[in-house]
Protein backbone atom coordinates (compact mmCIF):
# COMPACT_ATOMS: atom_id res chain seq x y z
CA UNK A 1 0.00 0.00 0.00
CA UNK A 2 2.73 2.47 1.02
CA UNK A 3 4.68 1.72 -2.15
CA UNK A 4 1.62 2.51 -4.29
CA UNK A 5 0.94 5.74 -2.51
CA UNK A 6 4.62 6.68 -2.76
CA UNK A 7 4.58 5.94 -6.48
CA UNK A 8 1.51 8.11 -7.13
CA UNK A 9 2.82 10.90 -4.97
CA UNK A 10 6.18 10.81 -6.79
CA UNK A 11 4.26 11.12 -10.05
CA UNK A 12 2.42 14.20 -8.81
CA UNK A 13 5.41 15.96 -7.30
CA UNK A 14 8.25 14.95 -9.60
CA UNK A 15 8.94 18.49 -10.80
CA UNK A 16 9.00 19.93 -7.28
CA UNK A 17 11.29 17.23 -5.95
CA UNK A 18 13.70 17.19 -8.90
CA UNK A 19 13.96 20.95 -9.29
CA UNK A 20 14.22 21.33 -5.50
CA UNK A 21 17.04 18.78 -5.38
CA UNK A 22 18.97 20.42 -8.22
CA UNK A 23 18.66 23.88 -6.70
CA UNK A 24 19.51 22.51 -3.24
CA UNK A 25 22.70 20.99 -4.62
CA UNK A 26 23.70 24.10 -6.57
CA UNK A 27 22.94 26.70 -3.90
CA UNK A 28 25.87 25.98 -1.53
CA UNK A 29 28.24 25.82 -4.50
CA UNK A 30 27.10 29.22 -5.65
CA UNK A 31 27.59 30.75 -2.20
CA UNK A 32 31.30 29.91 -2.08
CA UNK A 33 32.20 31.34 -5.46
CA UNK A 34 33.94 34.32 -3.85
CA UNK A 35 35.87 32.38 -1.21
CA UNK A 36 39.46 33.38 -1.79
CA UNK A 37 42.70 32.99 0.09
CA UNK A 38 43.43 31.66 3.57
CA UNK A 39 45.10 34.92 4.70
CA UNK A 40 42.48 37.27 3.30
CA UNK A 41 42.49 40.88 4.37
CA UNK A 42 39.68 42.05 6.63
CA UNK A 43 37.91 43.77 3.76
CA UNK A 44 37.95 40.52 1.76
CA UNK A 45 36.64 38.63 4.78
CA UNK A 46 33.81 41.10 5.20
CA UNK A 47 33.02 40.87 1.52
CA UNK A 48 32.88 37.09 1.79
CA UNK A 49 30.59 37.26 4.82
CA UNK A 50 28.39 39.83 3.08
CA UNK A 51 28.14 37.49 0.09
CA UNK A 52 27.24 34.62 2.39
CA UNK A 53 24.61 36.77 4.07
CA UNK A 54 23.04 37.75 0.77
CA UNK A 55 22.85 34.11 -0.33
CA UNK A 56 21.61 32.96 3.07
CA UNK A 57 18.03 34.10 2.49
CA UNK A 58 17.63 31.58 -0.32
CA UNK A 59 17.98 28.52 1.94
CA UNK A 60 14.80 29.07 4.00
CA UNK A 61 12.97 30.21 0.86
CA UNK A 62 13.97 27.01 -0.90
CA UNK A 63 12.86 24.97 2.12
CA UNK A 64 9.50 26.74 2.05
CA UNK A 65 9.10 26.24 -1.69
CA UNK A 66 9.94 22.53 -1.58
CA UNK A 67 7.63 22.01 1.42
CA UNK A 68 4.85 23.89 -0.36
CA UNK A 69 5.15 21.94 -3.61
CA UNK A 70 5.33 18.49 -2.03
CA UNK A 71 2.81 19.27 0.73
CA UNK A 72 0.10 20.59 -1.57
CA UNK A 73 0.66 18.11 -4.40
CA UNK A 74 -0.03 15.27 -1.95
CA UNK A 75 -3.69 16.31 -1.91
CA UNK A 76 -4.29 18.04 -5.25
CA UNK A 77 -5.45 14.90 -7.05
CA UNK A 78 -7.66 13.75 -4.18
CA UNK A 79 -9.38 17.12 -4.17
CA UNK A 80 -9.88 16.91 -7.94
CA UNK A 81 -11.63 13.53 -7.83
CA UNK A 82 -13.46 14.37 -4.62
CA UNK A 83 -11.62 11.70 -2.60
CA UNK A 84 -13.33 8.80 -4.36
CA UNK A 85 -10.11 6.80 -4.61
CA UNK A 86 -9.30 7.25 -0.95
CA UNK A 87 -12.83 6.30 0.11
CA UNK A 88 -12.64 3.05 -1.87
CA UNK A 89 -9.58 1.92 0.09
CA UNK A 90 -10.12 -0.46 3.02
CA UNK A 91 -8.38 1.96 5.36
CA UNK A 92 -9.40 4.31 8.13
CA UNK A 93 -8.75 7.92 7.23
CA UNK A 94 -6.01 8.50 9.80
CA UNK A 95 -4.00 5.65 8.35
CA UNK A 96 -4.43 6.91 4.81
CA UNK A 97 -3.29 10.39 5.86
CA UNK A 98 -0.32 8.89 7.66
CA UNK A 99 0.68 6.98 4.52
CA UNK A 100 0.40 10.13 2.43
CA UNK A 101 2.40 12.11 4.98
CA UNK A 102 5.08 9.43 5.17
CA UNK A 103 5.33 9.20 1.38
CA UNK A 104 5.88 12.95 1.20
CA UNK A 105 8.60 12.75 3.83
CA UNK A 106 10.38 10.04 1.84
CA UNK A 107 10.30 12.22 -1.28
CA UNK A 108 11.75 15.14 0.65
CA UNK A 109 14.86 13.15 1.43
CA UNK A 110 16.09 13.89 -2.11
CA UNK A 111 16.41 17.70 -1.74
CA UNK A 112 17.69 17.28 1.81
CA UNK A 113 20.45 14.94 0.67
CA UNK A 114 21.20 17.10 -2.35
CA UNK A 115 21.80 20.10 -0.11
CA UNK A 116 23.95 18.05 2.26
CA UNK A 117 26.09 16.80 -0.62
CA UNK A 118 26.29 20.27 -2.21
CA UNK A 119 27.24 21.86 1.12
CA UNK A 120 29.90 19.20 1.69
CA UNK A 121 31.40 19.67 -1.75
CA UNK A 122 31.30 23.45 -1.44
CA UNK A 123 32.91 23.41 2.01
CA UNK A 124 35.75 21.18 0.87
CA UNK A 125 36.29 23.07 -2.38
CA UNK A 126 36.35 26.56 -0.88
CA UNK A 127 39.41 28.13 0.72
CA UNK A 128 38.03 29.39 3.98
CA UNK A 129 39.95 32.40 5.37
CA UNK A 130 41.62 32.05 8.74
CA UNK A 131 39.14 32.56 11.58
CA UNK A 132 36.12 31.54 9.54
CA UNK A 133 34.59 28.06 9.45
CA UNK A 134 32.35 26.10 7.12
CA UNK A 135 29.21 24.59 8.63
CA UNK A 136 27.92 22.06 6.06
CA UNK A 137 26.46 19.65 8.62
CA UNK A 138 24.68 22.29 10.68
CA UNK A 139 23.32 23.92 7.52
CA UNK A 140 22.06 20.57 6.19
CA UNK A 141 20.32 19.69 9.46
CA UNK A 142 18.72 23.11 9.63
CA UNK A 143 17.55 22.85 6.03
CA UNK A 144 16.13 19.35 6.61
CA UNK A 145 14.16 20.50 9.65
CA UNK A 146 12.90 23.60 7.83
CA UNK A 147 11.75 21.49 4.86
CA UNK A 148 9.87 19.10 7.15
CA UNK A 149 8.22 21.97 9.06
CA UNK A 150 7.19 23.70 5.81
CA UNK A 151 5.93 20.42 4.38
CA UNK A 152 3.92 19.71 7.54
CA UNK A 153 2.32 23.14 7.51
CA UNK A 154 1.22 22.93 3.87
CA UNK A 155 0.25 19.28 4.17
CA UNK A 156 -1.99 20.08 7.16
CA UNK A 157 -3.57 23.06 5.39
CA UNK A 158 -4.12 21.12 2.16
CA UNK A 159 -5.68 18.15 3.96
CA UNK A 160 -8.39 20.33 5.47
CA UNK A 161 -11.82 21.16 4.08
CA UNK A 162 -12.77 24.39 2.37
CA UNK A 163 -14.59 25.28 5.57
CA UNK A 164 -11.35 24.89 7.56
CA UNK A 165 -9.55 27.10 5.08
CA UNK A 166 -12.37 29.61 5.51
CA UNK A 167 -11.89 29.58 9.28
CA UNK A 168 -8.17 30.18 8.91
CA UNK A 169 -8.71 33.03 6.47
CA UNK A 170 -11.38 34.53 8.75
CA UNK A 171 -8.99 34.57 11.68
CA UNK A 172 -6.32 36.28 9.54
CA UNK A 173 -8.87 38.79 8.25
CA UNK A 174 -10.12 39.50 11.77
CA UNK A 175 -6.58 40.24 12.94
CA UNK A 176 -6.09 42.68 10.04
CA UNK A 177 -9.43 44.39 10.78
CA UNK A 178 -8.59 44.73 14.49
CA UNK A 179 -5.22 46.22 13.52
CA UNK A 180 -6.92 48.74 11.24
CA UNK A 181 -9.34 49.68 14.03
CA UNK A 182 -6.39 50.20 16.37
CA UNK A 183 -4.77 52.49 13.83
CA UNK A 184 -7.95 54.46 13.12
CA UNK A 185 -8.53 54.99 16.84
CA UNK A 186 -4.99 56.35 17.15
CA UNK A 187 -3.62 53.39 19.09
CA UNK A 188 0.03 52.51 18.78
CA UNK A 189 -0.39 48.74 19.20
CA UNK A 190 0.96 46.83 16.23
CA UNK A 191 -0.84 43.52 16.40
CA UNK A 192 0.48 42.18 13.07
CA UNK A 193 4.11 42.79 13.99
CA UNK A 194 3.58 41.26 17.43
CA UNK A 195 2.06 38.12 15.91
CA UNK A 196 4.75 37.90 13.25
CA UNK A 197 7.45 38.22 15.88
CA UNK A 198 5.86 35.45 17.91
CA UNK A 199 5.77 33.19 14.86
CA UNK A 200 9.42 33.66 13.92
CA UNK A 201 10.95 33.61 17.39
CA UNK A 202 11.21 30.67 19.75
CA UNK A 203 8.96 28.74 20.28
CA UNK A 204 7.09 29.84 17.14
CA UNK A 205 6.68 27.42 14.22
CA UNK A 206 8.78 29.55 11.86
CA UNK A 207 11.73 30.01 14.19
CA UNK A 208 13.68 27.39 12.27
CA UNK A 209 13.50 29.65 9.19
CA UNK A 210 15.04 32.66 10.94
CA UNK A 211 18.64 33.18 12.06
CA UNK A 212 21.88 32.94 10.11
CA UNK A 213 21.86 30.47 7.23
CA UNK A 214 25.51 30.87 6.36
CA UNK A 215 27.63 28.04 5.05
CA UNK A 216 30.77 29.99 5.95
CA UNK A 217 30.66 32.02 9.14
CA UNK A 218 32.80 33.07 12.07
Amino acid sequence: MFREILRTQWKWSTIGVVVGAVVAFALPLMTVQGAGTADARWIEVRQLLDDQRSWAQWYPLLALAVGLLVGTSAWTNDHRVRHVYALTLPLPRWRFVLLRYGAGLVLLVAPMLALAVGAGVAASAATVPSGLHAYPVALSIRFALAVVVAYSIFFAISSGTTRTAGYVLSVVGAVVVVQLLFRVSGGSTNLLTAIFDRMVTWPGPFEIFSGRWMLIDV
Binding site: W42, G131, L132, A138, L145, I153
Partner: protein
Protein backbone atom coordinates in the same frame (compact mmCIF):
# COMPACT_ATOMS: atom_id res chain seq x y z
CA UNK B 1 14.48 80.17 24.40
CA UNK B 2 14.15 83.69 23.12
CA UNK B 3 12.43 85.20 20.15
CA UNK B 4 14.31 87.63 17.95
CA UNK B 5 12.70 89.65 15.22
CA UNK B 6 15.08 90.55 12.46
CA UNK B 7 14.65 94.12 11.34
CA UNK B 8 14.29 93.58 7.66
CA UNK B 9 11.71 93.54 4.99
CA UNK B 10 9.42 90.58 4.73
CA UNK B 11 10.11 88.65 1.61
CA UNK B 12 7.19 86.40 0.81
CA UNK B 13 9.07 84.61 -1.93
CA UNK B 14 11.53 83.10 0.48
CA UNK B 15 10.84 79.46 1.21
CA UNK B 16 8.67 78.86 4.21
CA UNK B 17 11.09 76.47 5.75
CA UNK B 18 14.33 77.91 6.93
CA UNK B 19 16.44 77.26 9.90
CA UNK B 20 19.81 78.33 11.10
CA UNK B 21 21.51 76.43 13.74
CA UNK B 22 24.40 78.10 15.44
CA UNK B 23 26.76 76.19 17.53
CA UNK B 24 29.31 78.41 19.10
CA UNK B 25 32.42 76.75 20.05
CA UNK B 26 36.12 76.75 20.28
CA UNK B 27 37.90 74.31 18.12
CA UNK B 28 41.20 75.99 18.21
CA UNK B 29 43.45 74.85 20.98
CA UNK B 30 41.84 71.73 22.30
CA UNK B 31 45.08 70.91 23.98
CA UNK B 32 45.81 70.82 27.71
CA UNK B 33 45.43 74.07 29.61
CA UNK B 34 45.08 75.28 33.18
CA UNK B 35 41.95 76.67 34.87
CA UNK B 36 42.78 80.32 34.20
CA UNK B 37 43.36 79.69 30.51
CA UNK B 38 40.18 77.70 30.41
CA UNK B 39 38.12 80.48 32.04
CA UNK B 40 39.67 83.05 29.72
CA UNK B 41 38.84 80.90 26.74
CA UNK B 42 35.25 80.44 27.87
CA UNK B 43 34.85 84.20 28.30
CA UNK B 44 36.25 84.87 24.86
CA UNK B 45 33.97 82.24 23.43
CA UNK B 46 30.90 83.72 25.03
CA UNK B 47 31.78 87.09 23.52
CA UNK B 48 32.50 85.46 20.18
CA UNK B 49 29.18 83.68 20.29
CA UNK B 50 27.27 86.90 20.73
CA UNK B 51 29.26 88.64 18.02
CA UNK B 52 28.64 85.93 15.47
CA UNK B 53 25.02 85.68 16.43
CA UNK B 54 24.59 89.40 15.93
CA UNK B 55 26.44 89.14 12.63
CA UNK B 56 24.15 86.41 11.38
CA UNK B 57 20.98 88.06 12.59
CA UNK B 58 21.94 91.37 11.05
CA UNK B 59 21.93 89.87 7.57
CA UNK B 60 19.12 91.30 5.53
CA UNK B 61 19.12 88.18 3.44
CA UNK B 62 17.40 86.23 6.17
CA UNK B 63 14.47 88.31 5.12
CA UNK B 64 11.76 87.19 7.51
CA UNK B 65 11.10 86.87 11.24
CA UNK B 66 13.40 84.42 12.93
CA UNK B 67 13.10 82.74 16.32
CA UNK B 68 16.05 81.50 18.29
CA UNK B 69 15.95 78.14 19.95
CA UNK B 70 18.69 77.92 22.55
CA UNK B 71 20.08 74.86 24.31
CA UNK B 72 23.36 75.53 26.09
CA UNK B 73 25.76 76.92 23.47
CA UNK B 74 23.61 75.46 20.72
CA UNK B 75 21.64 78.05 18.76
CA UNK B 76 18.99 77.32 16.21
CA UNK B 77 17.70 80.28 14.26
CA UNK B 78 14.44 79.11 12.84
CA UNK B 79 11.48 80.32 10.89
CA UNK B 80 8.57 80.71 13.32
CA UNK B 81 6.50 78.05 11.57
CA UNK B 82 9.28 75.51 12.15
CA UNK B 83 10.01 76.47 15.71
CA UNK B 84 8.28 73.52 17.39
CA UNK B 85 9.97 71.00 15.12
CA UNK B 86 13.45 72.43 15.59
CA UNK B 87 12.93 72.88 19.33
CA UNK B 88 12.50 69.14 19.50
CA UNK B 89 15.59 68.67 17.32
CA UNK B 90 17.54 70.99 19.62
CA UNK B 91 16.45 69.05 22.72
CA UNK B 92 17.62 65.74 21.33
CA UNK B 93 20.86 67.13 19.88
CA UNK B 94 21.68 68.94 23.06
CA UNK B 95 21.03 65.86 25.21
CA UNK B 96 23.38 63.85 22.99
CA UNK B 97 26.13 66.47 23.05
CA UNK B 98 25.80 67.33 26.72
CA UNK B 99 26.08 63.69 27.73
CA UNK B 100 29.17 63.28 25.62
CA UNK B 101 30.87 66.55 26.47
CA UNK B 102 29.65 67.25 30.01
CA UNK B 103 31.06 70.27 31.76
CA UNK B 104 33.47 70.88 28.91
CA UNK B 105 30.75 71.59 26.39
CA UNK B 106 31.73 75.17 25.80
CA UNK B 107 35.39 74.27 25.60
CA UNK B 108 34.87 71.48 23.12
CA UNK B 109 32.30 73.22 20.98
CA UNK B 110 34.98 75.72 20.18
CA UNK B 111 35.57 78.97 18.40
CA UNK B 112 34.15 77.74 15.14
CA UNK B 113 30.57 78.65 14.58
CA UNK B 114 28.45 76.23 12.68
CA UNK B 115 25.37 77.38 10.92
CA UNK B 116 22.79 75.05 9.65
CA UNK B 117 20.53 76.23 6.90
CA UNK B 118 17.45 74.30 5.99
CA UNK B 119 16.54 74.43 2.30
CA UNK B 120 17.06 78.16 1.94
CA UNK B 121 19.98 78.52 -0.41
CA UNK B 122 19.61 82.28 -0.67
CA UNK B 123 20.71 82.86 2.89
CA UNK B 124 24.10 84.52 2.85
CA UNK B 125 26.02 83.83 6.01
CA UNK B 126 29.23 85.31 7.41
CA UNK B 127 32.26 83.75 5.71
CA UNK B 128 33.71 82.31 8.92
CA UNK B 129 30.54 80.48 9.79
CA UNK B 130 30.51 76.72 9.21
CA UNK B 131 27.37 75.57 7.50
CA UNK B 132 25.42 72.38 7.51
CA UNK B 133 22.31 71.94 5.45
CA UNK B 134 19.28 69.89 6.43
CA UNK B 135 18.02 68.54 3.14
CA UNK B 136 14.93 66.88 4.44
CA UNK B 137 12.92 67.69 7.53
CA UNK B 138 11.89 64.17 8.51
CA UNK B 139 11.67 62.79 12.01
CA UNK B 140 13.18 65.13 14.65
CA UNK B 141 15.26 62.24 16.02
CA UNK B 142 16.83 61.61 12.60
CA UNK B 143 17.56 65.29 12.00
CA UNK B 144 19.04 65.57 15.50
CA UNK B 145 21.21 62.51 14.92
CA UNK B 146 22.51 64.00 11.66
CA UNK B 147 23.19 67.31 13.29
CA UNK B 148 24.96 65.74 16.29
CA UNK B 149 27.06 63.66 13.89
CA UNK B 150 28.03 66.78 11.97
CA UNK B 151 28.97 68.62 15.14
CA UNK B 152 30.97 65.66 16.43
CA UNK B 153 32.76 65.41 13.10
CA UNK B 154 33.74 69.05 13.33
CA UNK B 155 34.84 68.62 16.93
CA UNK B 156 37.03 65.71 15.85
CA UNK B 157 38.57 67.82 13.13
CA UNK B 158 39.50 70.32 15.81
CA UNK B 159 41.45 67.75 17.82
CA UNK B 160 45.20 67.39 17.49
CA UNK B 161 47.01 65.51 14.76
CA UNK B 162 47.89 62.45 16.89
CA UNK B 163 44.28 61.52 17.40
CA UNK B 164 43.25 62.42 13.89
CA UNK B 165 45.96 60.31 12.32
CA UNK B 166 45.04 57.42 14.63
CA UNK B 167 41.45 57.57 13.41
CA UNK B 168 40.94 59.85 10.47
CA UNK B 169 37.19 60.25 10.53
CA UNK B 170 34.98 58.50 13.09
CA UNK B 171 31.42 57.88 11.97
CA UNK B 172 30.20 58.93 15.39
CA UNK B 173 31.19 59.08 19.00
CA UNK B 174 28.09 57.68 20.63
CA UNK B 175 27.88 54.28 22.31
CA UNK B 176 29.06 51.20 20.46
CA UNK B 177 26.11 49.41 18.89
CA UNK B 178 25.83 45.63 18.74
CA UNK B 179 26.06 45.70 14.94
CA UNK B 180 29.33 47.63 15.09
CA UNK B 181 30.67 45.34 17.81
CA UNK B 182 29.73 42.31 15.73
CA UNK B 183 31.65 43.69 12.73
CA UNK B 184 34.71 44.23 14.93
CA UNK B 185 34.32 40.70 16.31
CA UNK B 186 34.61 39.40 12.75
CA UNK B 187 37.74 41.53 12.35
CA UNK B 188 39.17 40.16 15.60
CA UNK B 189 38.61 36.50 14.78
CA UNK B 190 39.56 36.61 11.13
CA UNK B 191 42.66 38.80 11.02
CA UNK B 192 45.48 36.40 10.12
CA UNK B 193 48.15 38.23 12.15
CA UNK B 194 49.85 36.70 15.19
CA UNK B 195 49.34 39.85 17.23
CA UNK B 196 45.58 39.80 16.73
CA UNK B 197 45.46 36.09 17.53
CA UNK B 198 47.27 36.82 20.79
CA UNK B 199 44.82 39.63 21.52
CA UNK B 200 41.92 37.28 20.91
CA UNK B 201 43.51 34.81 23.31
CA UNK B 202 43.61 37.45 26.03
CA UNK B 203 47.01 39.18 25.70
CA UNK B 204 46.14 42.82 26.47
CA UNK B 205 49.51 44.14 25.34
CA UNK B 206 48.90 42.50 21.97
CA UNK B 207 45.51 44.20 21.82
CA UNK B 208 47.16 47.55 22.55
CA UNK B 209 49.62 47.05 19.70
CA UNK B 210 46.94 45.77 17.33
CA UNK B 211 44.90 48.89 18.01
CA UNK B 212 47.94 51.13 17.48
CA UNK B 213 47.75 52.52 21.00
CA UNK B 214 51.52 52.72 21.52
CA UNK B 215 54.24 55.01 20.23
CA UNK B 216 57.31 53.42 18.65
CA UNK B 217 59.87 54.24 15.98
CA UNK B 218 59.56 50.88 14.26
CA UNK B 219 55.81 50.36 14.53
CA UNK B 220 55.77 47.83 11.74
CA UNK B 221 57.94 45.43 13.75
CA UNK B 222 55.64 46.05 16.69
CA UNK B 223 52.70 44.95 14.57
CA UNK B 224 53.92 42.16 12.34
CA UNK B 225 56.37 39.26 12.58
CA UNK B 226 59.20 39.11 10.03
CA UNK B 227 57.33 36.49 8.02
CA UNK B 228 54.13 38.53 8.08
CA UNK B 229 56.02 41.63 6.97
CA UNK B 230 57.36 39.77 3.96
CA UNK B 231 53.88 38.49 3.17
CA UNK B 232 52.51 42.01 3.32
CA UNK B 233 55.21 43.29 1.00
CA UNK B 234 54.70 40.45 -1.46
CA UNK B 235 50.90 40.83 -1.42
CA UNK B 236 51.35 44.53 -2.11
CA UNK B 237 48.18 45.08 -4.00
CA UNK B 238 49.25 45.49 -7.62
CA UNK B 239 48.43 49.19 -7.69
CA UNK B 240 50.49 51.70 -9.63
CA UNK B 241 52.59 52.72 -6.64
CA UNK B 242 53.20 49.07 -5.81
CA UNK B 243 54.40 48.41 -9.33
CA UNK B 244 56.67 51.44 -9.03
CA UNK B 245 57.94 50.34 -5.61
CA UNK B 246 58.97 46.97 -6.92
CA UNK B 247 62.07 48.67 -8.28
CA UNK B 248 63.15 49.98 -4.87
CA UNK B 249 66.17 48.28 -3.24
CA UNK B 250 64.31 47.62 0.03
CA UNK B 251 61.50 45.87 -1.86
CA UNK B 252 63.98 43.75 -3.75
CA UNK B 253 65.90 43.02 -0.54
CA UNK B 254 62.75 42.07 1.34
CA UNK B 255 61.46 39.71 -1.30
CA UNK B 256 64.98 38.29 -1.46
CA UNK B 257 64.82 37.28 2.23
CA UNK B 258 66.25 40.32 4.04
CA UNK B 259 64.05 40.93 7.14
CA UNK B 260 65.52 44.36 7.86
CA UNK B 261 64.70 45.49 4.34
CA UNK B 262 61.06 44.44 4.86
CA UNK B 263 60.88 46.52 8.01
CA UNK B 264 62.41 49.56 6.33
CA UNK B 265 60.18 49.23 3.29
CA UNK B 266 56.97 48.88 5.31
CA UNK B 267 57.84 51.69 7.72
CA UNK B 268 58.27 53.92 4.68
CA UNK B 269 54.88 52.78 3.37
CA UNK B 270 52.96 52.57 6.63
CA UNK B 271 49.98 54.34 5.13
CA UNK B 272 49.59 51.40 2.78
CA UNK B 273 49.33 48.73 5.46
CA UNK B 274 48.07 50.21 8.72
CA UNK B 275 47.73 48.52 12.09
CA UNK B 276 46.71 44.85 12.32
CA UNK B 277 43.19 45.73 13.45
CA UNK B 278 41.06 47.90 11.19
CA UNK B 279 39.93 51.50 11.63
CA UNK B 280 36.49 50.15 12.63
CA UNK B 281 38.15 48.36 15.55
CA UNK B 282 39.93 51.55 16.59
CA UNK B 283 36.69 53.47 16.36
CA UNK B 284 34.98 50.84 18.52
CA UNK B 285 37.74 51.28 21.09
CA UNK B 286 37.22 55.05 21.07
CA UNK B 287 33.48 54.60 21.53
CA UNK B 288 33.98 52.21 24.44
CA UNK B 289 36.42 54.66 26.06
CA UNK B 290 33.92 57.52 25.77
CA UNK B 291 31.11 55.29 27.00
CA UNK B 292 33.12 54.16 30.02
CA UNK B 293 34.25 57.73 30.71
CA UNK B 294 30.68 59.01 30.63
CA UNK B 295 30.05 62.71 30.99
CA UNK B 296 32.98 64.86 29.97
CA UNK B 297 34.98 62.01 28.44
CA UNK B 298 35.61 63.84 25.18
CA UNK B 299 36.82 66.87 27.09
CA UNK B 300 39.31 64.75 29.01
CA UNK B 301 40.44 63.21 25.74
CA UNK B 302 41.03 66.63 24.24
CA UNK B 303 42.96 67.88 27.26
CA UNK B 304 45.10 64.80 27.86
CA UNK B 305 48.83 65.25 27.25
CA UNK B 306 49.76 61.57 27.15
CA UNK B 307 52.09 60.90 24.20
CA UNK B 308 50.40 57.66 23.13
CA UNK B 309 46.80 57.35 22.04
CA UNK B 310 46.31 54.57 24.59
CA UNK B 311 47.15 56.94 27.42
CA UNK B 312 44.83 59.61 26.10
CA UNK B 313 41.92 57.25 25.72
CA UNK B 314 42.63 55.90 29.18
CA UNK B 315 42.39 59.47 30.51
CA UNK B 316 39.11 59.93 28.66
CA UNK B 317 37.70 56.73 30.13
CA UNK B 318 39.06 57.43 33.60
CA UNK B 319 40.38 53.88 33.99
CA UNK B 320 43.84 52.34 33.46
CA UNK B 321 44.70 51.49 29.87
CA UNK B 322 44.77 47.73 30.37
CA UNK B 323 41.41 47.78 32.16
CA UNK B 324 39.96 49.71 29.25
CA UNK B 325 41.42 47.24 26.76
CA UNK B 326 39.98 44.34 28.76
CA UNK B 327 36.56 46.01 28.79
CA UNK B 328 36.73 46.58 25.03
CA UNK B 329 37.82 42.99 24.37
CA UNK B 330 35.03 41.56 26.54
CA UNK B 331 32.52 43.76 24.78
CA UNK B 332 33.68 42.66 21.34
CA UNK B 333 33.84 38.96 22.19
CA UNK B 334 30.34 39.18 23.69
CA UNK B 335 29.07 40.40 20.30
CA UNK B 336 29.87 37.09 18.58
CA UNK B 337 27.03 36.47 16.13
CA UNK B 338 24.81 33.43 16.48
CA UNK B 339 25.95 30.81 14.01
CA UNK B 340 23.98 28.53 11.75
CA UNK B 341 24.34 25.76 14.33
CA UNK B 342 20.96 24.70 15.69
CA UNK B 343 20.43 24.74 19.41
CA UNK B 344 18.63 21.83 21.06
CA UNK B 345 15.68 24.08 21.83
CA UNK B 346 15.27 25.08 18.18
CA UNK B 347 15.56 21.50 16.91
CA UNK B 348 13.15 20.00 19.42
CA UNK B 349 10.68 22.85 18.94
CA UNK B 350 10.69 22.29 15.18
CA UNK B 351 10.01 18.58 15.68
CA UNK B 352 7.23 19.39 18.17
CA UNK B 353 5.57 21.63 15.57
CA UNK B 354 5.88 18.86 12.99
CA UNK B 355 4.03 16.48 15.33
CA UNK B 356 1.36 19.07 16.09
CA UNK B 357 0.78 19.76 12.38
CA UNK B 358 0.73 16.07 11.50
CA UNK B 359 -1.81 15.50 14.25
CA UNK B 360 -3.98 18.33 12.90
CA UNK B 361 -3.85 16.75 9.44
CA UNK B 362 -4.96 13.39 10.88
CA UNK B 363 -7.83 15.05 12.73
CA UNK B 364 -9.31 16.71 9.62
CA UNK B 365 -13.08 16.32 9.33
CA UNK B 366 -13.08 16.07 5.56
CA UNK B 367 -14.48 12.56 5.22
CA UNK B 368 -16.96 12.95 8.00
CA UNK B 369 -18.32 16.24 6.78
CA UNK B 370 -17.23 16.93 3.20
Amino acid sequence: MCSVRVASRMNARLPAVGALILVCATASGLHAQDAAQYRDKVDRLAARLEAVRAQVLAKDSIGSPVDTVRRGPLRLLVRPERQAFLAEVADITWDTLATMLGADTLLILGSHVFVHVADDSRLRLPPDVGQYRIWRLGEPRDVAADLARFIVHTIWEGLDATLRSWLSNPAGLDSLSNTQAEAVYVDLVTAPWELVKACRAGDLEACARSLDLEVADDTVSLWYTAEEQRRRVEKGGGTWWDIYNRKLPDYIGCTGGDDAACSVYLNQHRWMIGAPLSASARESFLRVALEVGGEGALGRLARSEAPATGGRLSAAAGVPRDSLIALWRDRILAAAPAQVIITGATGWTALAWVLVLAFLALRSTRWRNP
